[in-house]
Amino acid sequence: MKSRRLQAVGVLLILVWSLVPIYWALRTSFQTEADARATPVQYVPHHPTLDNYRALLTGDGEVPGQIRQAALNIVIECSAATVVTVVLATLAAYAFARMSFHGSKILFYSVLATMALPAYATLIPLYRIMSTFGLVNTYSGLVLVYVSGFVPLATWVLHNYFSSLPTSLEEAGLVDGAHRLQVLWHIMLPLARPGIISTAIITFLFAWAQFLFPLVLSSDLSTQPLTVVIASLQGRHVVPTTLLSAAGMLAIAVPAAIALAFSRYIVNGLLAGSVK
């Protein structure tokens, strides 16, 4: 009983720690600049307004324009990275899980080992490579980097998923004359759909949260994602904190909605293969 109470207190503390800053940004986003600066502090907005969101979504100013462009960029980059990662990881995971070839284990663990490398270690070489091939400040450059970063995790998740599926259906397909890709497409993919969805969601969320790589690899608004643009707006006296808070909430909204709506898939994906 005592341990459950302690657990509840711990959970509560973590929730407060995590949610209070988000609440504060949410509160500020619904206030006018005057209310946000008012003394005493308004813990709940006295005159809630949607003006900041309206300005961001439909306004003509420089900042709303930047936010909209950055929102478009992040959607394009994350979506493209997710699609490419899932396709590559599915093929790789299936091969590692089901096909026996020379060096497959070494290759598989080599791919997994790359997850242990700190991001910094590859930033500078990647920057150099991207620059050499004219990929800095391009969608394709960023997507390529995201894919190289996320394929190992996605491969691992899907490998666990494929490994947990029974082999009998697959063997039946092979006996009936289907080749490997047909088996994958017609038999395994429908069975692995939950795993693929969870992999796609995890990849999308990770890509959405990126800051350092897009900061370095994109140099202007044509490719900078929301995370980088919001950071570049903070600290300027000319940008109201209320508007900045609304932009922050918009940046949170998409991943938060996805995480809430698909939490079951995310958990299942990460636990796949952990229980036999």
């Binding site: 590859t122 500078i124 070489p125 150099r128 190992p152 370095v216 600290g235």
Partner: protein
Amino acid sequence: MTSSTRPTRRRSWARLRTAQLAVGLTALATVAACGSDDPGGSDKTTDVTITVALNSEPPPQASLDAFERETGITVKWVNIDWDSLQTKISAAATANTYFADATDVDWSRVGQLGRLGWFYPMDDYLDTDAMAADMPQLASFTSDGHVVGIPYDASFMVTTINSDLYKKAGADANPATMQAYTDGLKKIKDAGVVKYPLNIPFAAAEGLSTYWYEATEAFGGTILDESGAPQFTSPDSAGYRAAQWMIDAMTSGLVPPGNINVADSQGQQTLMAKGQVASTFSDYSGTVGSLYNIPESSTVVDQVTYLATPGTDGPAANLSNPDGIGIPKQAKYPDAAAKFIEWFTDAKQQVDFAGVNGPEKALPAYAMPSHLSAVEEMTAKGDLVGGEVLAAMLKTSKPVFEGGAPAWYPKFSNAVYTNLHAAATGEMSVADAIAAIADTADQLANES
């Protein structure tokens, strides 16, 4: 570091688990590594497009168009926050990769940049000797005899006071010494005009370090000598007394308790703009006109004035912390970038940027010109709030470190603000904080 975007945080690095590159990318890396490491760009100065990356709004398009007509150089402007910009500069220089033709050179990184050789010496392109007389803060950008960047605005630490609050308390609004200044603050507190009259940003961030440097100057000393040796270990030294004064101000209730988490720039200035404190000892030049007198951002319009920095026997010097602009070694068009810098930092251009010749020529949030002649011209026309005081301060402003910021400055500053913050929270004594800072300085100087 500008007033609006100082490095008050160290952004946690993104967590991308970038893969070790497999066969294909390894091949690409090999190809890339085979590329030339030699810096070098085109000497073309017409019909080129240069990228300028600064933590600043762009100049008005009409001004950039005029520059283009005059020189044939098109400017692509990238406005990026200070922290991110420093990351980009470092990443690009380390990867020997182009990202801009002209970019930020912060005073605190001059030593580092000079040693690393990441920027072209500006004296190769401009007559910096001739510029020096009219640009006092150029001295902050000199490393090993070379000018690394040109200050594009003037920024130095100033003392601001809310004269209305001083008047209400019957306190001397013109204290010339630290003793008189402290007495005035106590009088304001005792009179109950404001509960906590003094602003000190005690968050463990860069602003706390610069506050201590200015306070040390006020107490008549310096932080480091030209060899980098600490000058603040003795209890009689200015640095020690400055630290003691700051901590005493906190413990005696002159400083708002919440300031333990307040960084400089916005946090500190907001308290001043709301009239919640009566004075900021180490504020930023230009804030009266650009912030405190703006009704949208301030409730103390026309109440805040600059005060000649109090010293031991009379006014002390103001320490410079300006932002400059320089040419990274990876620039594609260094000569064109130099032409742009010459134009961007020209006295006449700076007068335009300051809004003297109409808002259509102004550079938003521009602090004040780095050219003395421009400041004097603005003051004569009555276009600079507190111009006479600021012009006098600019004339006598001096670098934080006489020998230039040491290459190890960031680590030193980290030790300064970490230990002073700990002293303010009561976790350690002033003596221990000073000893820890001195140990760090000694260690860094010996290692360098």
